[in-house]
Symmetry: C2
Subunit: 270 residues, 2 copies
């Protein structure tokens, strides 16, 4: 590994440190088209999915690890920048008290609908105006678990490339395809090929259990407080309802999506 | 309503404001045995479940609302303290930029196992060393949705009375019974009456779908990063496994618990 060129950064005011730290800010992230992911496990998942960080930041004093060596070699071989720094500066970049010993900066992926490969899964999750980045990351993680094609974000959703979403996705941000579109863009794209649109709803709905799901099935989940607009529910090919035995009339959005996605999985696998 | 006595507080350094604000801190909350819940909807749910705040804090300039009038009358009738203050001070108390116009301070409930009424549900959720208060609140919300008896917290879990857990529970902190115990306290309590202990596991497990669930069924979910200790899985009457089609080997803890709880619900309702 001695041939790998590493830059050492020890100053808090170093411009690269500032640049990376600012990627926690949505505006800066959007302008630059870059995002951060932390931790050896996440970065190894990314590498194995063919995603390499443009910049790799590591603690200077770190435990040796063969996966870290492989990661470093891959980033260097790809022309990436490798930085050694202090744990304090890593904490400054990630904003997390016990920062992981390694952080990568990635270029954001193409999230246009045209870039999605519809053949890659029988289940897709579609989130409308989902505001919580933790919920969004959790949905990506569920997508991975059910072998979905990906997650499509409709209207004004949280940013899938925020640190919180990336963390909650547990690496699924790299394994899942992500699309972003308005509803008016999404519907013609959906209808341009096979696909059943399903939503949890109270209107004109059948029991979610054993409902006639068909692959490819697009599971639509609405905003955390307002749910889905009526017109969006109207567009669905199937509206299903889940038992609500208590006082509340809804589940957490990521939970509702997961219960539904696992039910769809059982149906389309038969 | 004119007979209701209200205290007006306008100073940030008022000791009551400081006391309430400090309830966001776990140590202070534990020492005082009090917690905060915000929002008219949550407080109305609480009232309808027979839980009244000891102190009710309202914005002085607020929109009139019959439910708020009812709440105020109930708190006053119960000998509670009613405070009118400014939106800025409400924000200081809750730490939330757009504070709700009303906040209540409650006495924590008895969370000993002996206080739980086991007859109140066919499903119970049991969380072990769950660290994320949002996950904890989400599990309470799921408990409410499946008509569970309650949530039992094992070992060192997040605090169900933190603002984040209370918020994420969407009121279920008031509708669900909550127990707290060590594993060594929990097992004898569980075995002292009917109850099937079920966990998602990879060891010696059957497909979660259509597994032989029996009421009352206790669904055990492990810590977010480490899962369940092997000995805890060994104690379970049934170990089930959920499909994992992707790279990851686990789901978000609240999601796993919910998918399992809905499967149990379908079985015990038959």
């Amino acid at each position: 590994m001695s041939a790998i060129e590493r830059r050492e950064i020890t100053g808090f005011s170093n411009p690269t440190v500032k640049y990376l730290r600012n990627l926690r800010d949505k505006k800066h992230r959007k302008r630059e088209g870059k995002f951060l992911a932390e931790g050896l496990r996440l970065l190894t998942d990314a590498r194995e999915c063919g995603r390499l960080p443009e910049t790799l930041v590591m603690a200077g004093k770190r435990d040796a690890h063969p996966l870290l060596d492989e990661l470093e070699a891959a980033v260097a071989g790809n022309g990436g920048d490798i930085i050694e720094t202090t744990p304090d500066i890593l904490t400054k970049i990630t904003g997390k008290d016990n920062a992981q010993a390694v952080v990568g900066m990635f270029a954001e992926f193409d999230t246009s609908l045209g870039a999605l490969d519809r053949s890659r899964g029988d289940i897709w999750m579609v989130a409308q105006a989902l505001r919580d980045p933790g919920n969004l990351g959790t949905m990506l993680r569920t997508c991975d678990a059910v072998g979905a094609g990906g997650l499509i974000l409709i209207d004004d959703c949280a940013d899938p490339f925020s640190m919180e979403a990336v963390r909650a996705s547990m690496g699924a941000v790299f394994t899942q395809q992500i699309g972003r579109a308005t509803w008016d863009e999404f519907v013609p794209w959906l209808r341009g090929a096979d696909g059943q649109l399903v939503a949890a709803s109270l209107r004109d709905a059948v029991d979610y259990r054993g409902a006639p799901y068909n692959a490819p099935c697009f599971v639509l989940v609405g905003n955390e407080s307002r749910g889905l607009p009526e017109a969006y529910e109207g567009e669905c090919d199937l509206r299903v309802t889940m038992p609500m035995k208590g006082r509340a009339d809804s589940l957490n959005a990521a939970v509702a999506g997961a219960v539904l996605a696992y039910e769809v999985l059982a149906a389309v696998e038969k």
